[in-house]
């Protein structure tokens, strides 16, 4: 295994003539160093989240105490109670969940249809449309942001959830591409067999293609949920009534004129993060697969 940080092992030249295992003690030392480095790496990334959780469970006197400590002197739920007092946490959670759920529904309905047209229907438009899908993925969202806002404004839909939900029902280029790549790997024979049996094209799609594409569709659904759940820009543009806020924009209520209610804010942050964390733990293999799809295929 090559490492960037490890110094060049001097034992290497001795190994050249007679390849053999390194002496056990040297090997063990090297292995210990590897454990230390990789655990340190994981801790650096984890640490901020630990401080979030610990602050959420601290008493105010403990929150505003220098030097900071990771372990609360006394564990308390007071910040959570305070958070629920200051902002309608349940309402915001429900709003965020509704938008995310509808976006997932839209993605799951629309993206596989389009992906099927790109991967398995032999028609003239498949190639040009694929190029269009890829091109739209490259376009900075800032270019279309203003006219899209003006369209929704003209339709009187600013302030409703429609601008946050409807686009998902029209297919997201990245997910269309992801599912198309998956479908390319599905043998045509499976689909042809159903066609020969006289199944309509849509029936073939619904009974053969959709079940096969399930892993790719689940990956798209998970990512869509995460995007919608954590989205900041779109709720910021389109939501203007406090009762419709998502948590992303509702959290700012903890910022006062001169002070910040750090304890309750961190408590609300914990609640906001938990559903995403849960989804991550349940669908980890889809995450890892989805992240790699874009880069390696």
């Amino acid at each position: 295994m090559p490492t960037i940080s490890a110094p060049v092992p001097t034992v290497l030249h001795a190994d050249v003539q007679t390849p053999r295992r390194r002496t056990p003690s040297r090997h063990r030392l090297r292995q210990v160093r590897r454990y230390i480095l990789v655990i340190l790496l994981a801790l650096i990334f984890l640490f901020p989240l630990l401080t979030m959780v610990s602050t959420a469970f601290k008493l105010p006197s403990d929150v505003f105490h220098a030097p900071p400590s990771l372990w609360p002197k006394e564990w308390t739920l007071a910040n959570f109670a305070e958070a629920f007092d200051q902002i309608p946490v349940w309402q915001y959670l429900a709003n965020t969940l509704f938008i995310s759920g509808m976006s997932v529904l839209g993605t799951v309905l629309a993206c596989p249809l389009v992906a099927y047209a790109l991967a398995k229907v032999r028609w003239r438009g498949a190639k040009p449309l694929l190029i269009v899908v890829l091109a739209t993925m490259m376009l900075p969202p800032q270019v279309t942001m203003i006219p899209i806002f003006l369209i929704w404004n003209g339709l009187g839909a600013v302030g409703t959830y429609l601008p946050l939900i409807i686009p998902a029902f029209l297919g997201t280029p990245f997910f269309i591409f992801l599912i198309r790549q998956f479908l390319l790997g599905v043998p045509d024979e499976l689909i042809e067999a159903a066609r020969i049996d006289g199944a309509s094209e849509f029936r073939t799609y619904a009974t053969i293609v959709l079940p096969i594409a399930r892993p790719a569709i689940i990956t798209a659904a998970i990512f869509q949920f995460m995007w919608a759940w954590t989205d900041f820009l779109n709720p910021l543009i389109y939501l203007n009534d406090a009762s419709t806020y998502t948590l992303s924009i509702g959290l700012y209520s903890f910022f006062g004129q001169n002070t910040v209610a750090w304890g309750p804010l961190m408590a609300a942050c914990v609640l906001f993060t938990l559903p995403a964390l849960l989804l991550f733990l349940l669908g980890q293999r889809f995450f890892i697969g989805g992240i790699s799809t874009g880069a390696l295929k």
Binding site: L12, Y35, L113, W123, P141, T144, P147, I249
Partner: protein, 319 residues
């Protein structure tokens, strides 16, 4: 949408192979039907908005009156506006420092995660974990970590005898603070690198080892060329993300709910934030549309430059 198809293998094959004729027209309708959600989406969310945005960029438009044609006024105004240059400078600062460092951190992290140790999936999950945290939560969390009185960062620096700066109050330190926060979420890039490292054929390392190459030589001569196509992809994706950076600086500088704050001395106002400010706070829709096109052209030119240099450093399987 149940388009019935004659159930003979003959027609299926001919529809698949032969261009023209009835069956290919059927296939065309079929393709259009299945692709229709995206075709509608493309027209309303891409094609029309792109054309409209280009048009608005040549108009004076404040949302309440009809757009008034002003030619290149928006663009000349932009180039004479110090805020435009400052936001561009801030964005380029973050990009020029951020992209190489993000790549180096991800690659180093991937190397560590690739060690043959027990619990690899756990360490990998922990490194990726910050990337699933809502970005707003991450932003507020970093404001807390960067707090000069009660934050952990300056406390840790203090342990090493370093007197930490007032990160979010001193103009010189706000951008390093933004970068720190973005480096915390390089988990996705790291995992892509990890997959690339696992794809490098083991024989190449064995061959290099027999040639007496040390760890650093093996990295330079085997790993780096073998993963260079992935590096190209990562550089471009990271580059685009930094050029469009919005939420992280917005949250770290936030002083009001829905208008971007520029931070001390304007040091945190990025291009995308300034664009948002012009569009939705000042309602200068034409000017903001012009800024969007400047951003697009900038992104395109930088991406093309990276692609043009890539022939020199990206190893292809053919040669």
């Amino acid at each position: 949408m149940s388009l019935r198809r004659p159930a003979s293998a003959q027609t299926i094959l001919s529809s698949a192979r032969k261009p023209g004729g009835r069956s290919s027209r059927r296939a065309l309708w079929l393709g259009l039907a299945f692709a229709s959600p995206f075709i509608i989406g493309f027209l309303f969310l891409f094609a029309y908005p792109i054309a409209a945005s280009a048009f608005y960029s040549f108009t004076d438009f404040n949302l309440f009156q009809t757009p008034r044609w002003v030619g290149l006024d928006n663009y000349s105004q932009m180039f004479g506006n110090p805020t435009f240059w400052q936001s561009l400078g801030n964005t380029l600062y973050l990009t020029v420092i951020g992209v190489p460092l993000a790549i180096i951190i991800s690659l180093a992290g991937a190397h560590l995660l690739n060690f043959p140790v027990k619990g690899q999936p756990l360490y990998r999950a922990l490194v990726y974990l910050p990337s699933i945290v809502p970005i707003v939560v991450g932003g507020y969390l970093w404001r807390w970590l960067l707090n000069t009185q009660y934050g952990f960062l300056n406390y840790f620096l203090g342990l090493f005898g370093i007197d930490g700066p007032a990160w979010l109050q001193e103009p010189d330190w706000t951008k390093p603070a933004i970068l720190l926060m973005t480096f915390w979420t390089v988990g996705g890039t790291t995992i892509i690198y990890l997959a690339a490292l696992k794809d490098v054929p083991q024989e190449l390392y064995e061959a290099a080892e027999i040639d007496g190459a040390g760890a650093w030589r093996r990295f330079l001569n085997v790993t780096w060329p073998m993963i260079s196509p992935v590096t190209l992809f990562q550089v471009i994706v990271t580059l685009i993300a930094f050029l469009q950076i919005f939420t992280q600086p917005f949250i770290l500088a936030q002083e009001r709910l829905n208008t971007p704050s520029a931070g001390p001395g304007g040091s945190m106002l990025t291009f995308a934030m300034s664009l948002y400010q012009n569009a939705f706070a000042f309602l200068k829709m034409g000017y903001a549309s012009g800024m969007a096109w400047v951003l697009f052209v900038l992104t395109l030119v930088i991406t093309l430059i990276v692609l043009a240099t890539s022939k020199k450093w990206v190893h292809s399987a053919n040669n």
